[in-house]
Subunit: 115 residues, 2 copies
DNA sequence: TCCGTATATTCGGATAAGCGGATATATAAA
DNA sequence: TTTATATATCCGCTTATCCGAATATACGGA
């Protein structure tokens, strides 16, 4: 079953600044936990979590629980066109928010040595 | 002055099916008048016109009046990244709506021989 | 000028989206 | 078990978005 993500739905996901920036950060860092995103986005935890849930329910992100933390990454089953769109948008958004990347620092143990 | 179109704003423009399909058609045909779009999209004229106004105000499309008609095209001043995003999304949307292209036939004189 | 066609805009109402404090759940450690 | 931390969800509220009939405007031709 191959993830029915429509172009319009992808756009809706990325049309909100918080979701776009969360996606940007996840794409840039490969994997981030919610507390990292809360810190980087400087938004209430419930807001960040709600947006992440939406991104996951649309198939854009996937979450992996590791102990107390949940690590989000780009859904590896994303269609190629969606990956290219996200890449273009994140590149452009990074130029517009060069400070955003700097604020994302690990608040939880890095996910090393996990099979 | 170089068109301040943010990635999130572009996504918001394309997150609505009507606007996405209108953009798709304009991109595909190069230039279309409102009545062509009304016919192809099978939506009320006021709805189509309202969405076109929004796309134009965001800088995605530009309109050119030719007599009674207004021809819309992709704004030639679009940033390159935006053009690439639109290209990807329209390609994917075309696959999802293969019938849409067929419905767009000229209802007004083709814009030939106009300086 | 008057009429017909094309397009734009206005307007009120319906629906959706976003917010964030409060609360619930999950996990780890004491 | 109790406590602490991380995350998810609930809830009422506010605001934004979309709709389409009605109306206004622009233009060309009679």
């Amino acid at each position: 079953m191959s993830l029915s993500l429509s172009p319009a739905m992808l756009c809706k996901c990325l049309s909100d600044e918080t979701r776009l920036q969360a996606t940007l950060l996840v794409a840039r860092f490969g994997e981030l936990c919610v507390c990292d995103l809360v810190a980087a986005l400087d938004a209430p935890q419930s807001t960040v979590s709600r947006h992440l849930a939406q991104l996951r329910s649309c198939g854009l992100l996937s979450g992996r629980r590791a102990g107390q933390w949940v690590h989000y990454r780009l859904n590896p089953e994303l269609p190629e066109w969606a990956g290219r769109v996200i890449g273009e948008l994140c590149a452009a958004a990074t130029l517009a928010h060069p400070d955003l990347i700097r604020r994302a620092q690990g608040c939880c143990p890095p996910p090393v040595a996990l099979s």
